[in-house]
């Protein structure tokens, strides 16, 4: 009985056309990238479990032990979604360079959820993780600890500032103004050594370094990034930089 599937009559050409069209439809990469950012996944690992490559084999932690920590993470997720919606910023896809222009937002669906999300947790409740164990050069890990904040509004302000800096860097790269992009990224690394957009910051830094003619560092960073995040949507963009270095 296994693998039973009904034998269909041969579809007519029109039926086949409709079925094929529906089967071919896929979500956009833009949407997926924005949702990844909203969920807080696909960002660099940090903390005691940081590893060169993400693993999907980690067993689920006990629920009883995980409640507080999960809530803190969820708070960050919800806060991230809300901040993105408020800022109206599309981090990954917009071609324009105006950093404050509103674009298709990632909506904040908290109020419409079947069950309410956990209240955004104050940043202070999130345990401080030890410095990240990263194979990447420490360009995004300037050890300037960010002062702990004690309320959600301060955390939202942090996220808005993070988004502003990343947007400034992205605009610099889009305008081939590597100096401006790197300045924004340096500021980001200094203010948010464990920021929410570390992966994006690294990608932008690689591109900015490449534009600035520092191909050796760009290649080194690109190789490390791809090794660490082989499934990242940014890999396709970075591969030419990494491979160019390998062919030398």
């Amino acid at each position: 009985m296994s693998n039973l599937k009904l034998v269909a009559d041969e579809p007519t050409p029109l039926e086949k056309m409709l079925l094929d069209a529906s089967r071919a439809e896929q979500p956009s990469e833009d949407h997926k990238a924005r949702l990844r950012a909203a969920l807080g996944i696909g960002v660099p690992l940090s903390g005691p479990l940081a590893a060169p490559t993400p693993t999907h084999n980690a067993p689920p932690p006990a629920a009883a032990a995980g409640g507080v920590a999960k809530s803190a993470w969820l708070g960050k997720v919800a806060l991230g979604v809300a901040a993105l919606a408020l800022a109206g910023v599309l981090l990954f896809t917009r071609g324009g360079s105006a950093p404050t222009a509103p674009v298709s937002p990632v909506k904040a669906p908290v109020a419409e959820m079947p069950r309410p999300l956990a209240e955004p947790a104050p940043v202070a409740a999130v345990p401080e993780a030890p410095p990240a164990v990263s194979p990447l050069p420490p360009v995004e890990a300037t050890p300037q600890p960010h002062p702990a904040r004690s309320d959600a509004s301060a955390a939202a302000g942090d996220l808005t500032e993070q988004i502003r800096l990343i947007e400034a860097a992205r605009a610099g790269v889009a305008a081939h103004d590597a100096k401006a992009a790197l300045a924004a990224l340096d500021s980001y690394a200094q203010k948010f050594p464990r920021g929410s957009f570390g992966q994006e910051a690294t990608v932008l830094r690689i591109r900015a370094l490449d534009q600035a003619g520092d191909s050796a560092r760009a290649t080194t960073l690109a190789k490390s990034f791809i090794a660490r995040f082989p499934n990242s949507p940014h890999v396709a963009r970075l591969s030419p930089i990494a491979e160019r270095g390998a062919s030398r």
Partner: protein
């Protein structure tokens, strides 16, 4: 490589480990099932933007309940959540709601050749699915459009295999009747 189980962690480290594990599990769910969930939402009648938003809802629910989801039941959880979210969103969006007589007047398709434009074909397919009984439509989507086997469909919907098989047969009949109705609605000159 260290894993959660073989590290002795301080309370702070343990919290960080739990967060990391939650994030990794959600990422795996996203990688494995997001596109399926998005296509499901789309075929349940949501616009592309609506499917984007609804998929976000689904995964935020998953993020909230990630520790409650049984290992191996991720797809089932996401599927059930998507059905509930789609029902609520569809009530507001009303994108593909048809009149009882399967009127295609609102379709952008005037001739069969127009369906070569994939967007229009998808639009017509959406209208056909919108007029299909919900239970039949769900089986049709899983079996015909996602290519799942009947045991897989039966398992995901938690219905007997015979019921799933019967629903697929009736769904195919409904689909064929709808396509025939569309062809019949075309002007005679176009058909000949």
């Amino acid at each position: 490589m260290n894993t959660i189980s073989d590290l002795e962690l301080s309370p702070t480290e343990n919290d960080a480990a739990v967060q990391q594990a939650c994030r990794l599990r959600l990422e795996r769910m996203f990688n494995d099932h997001h596109d399926f969930i998005w296509r499901l939402l789309r075929r349940l009648g949501l616009s592309r933007q609506g499917a984007d938003d609804a998929a976000q809802h689904v995964f935020l629910v998953a993020a909230e309940r990630v520790l409650d989801i049984q290992e191996g039941r991720e797809r089932s959880f996401l599927f059930g959540t998507a059905l509930r979210v789609a029902r609520r969103v569809s009530r507001n969006e009303k994108r593909w709601v048809l009149e009882d007589d399967m009127d295609f007047r609102n379709s952008q398709v005037a001739r069969p050749e127009d369906l070569a434009d994939q967007r229009r074909a998808v639009d017509l397919m959406g209208r056909i699915l919108a007029n299909m009984d919900h239970d039949l439509k769900t089986v049709f989507i899983l079996a015909e459009l996602e290519g799942q086997t009947m045991p897989q469909v039966s398992s995901l919907l938690e219905i007997p295999l015979g019921t799933a098989t019967s629903r697929l047969r009736r769904a195919r009949e409904a689909f064929r009747a709808a396509v025939a109705a569309f062809e019949a609605s075309l002007p005679q000159a176009v058909k000949s």
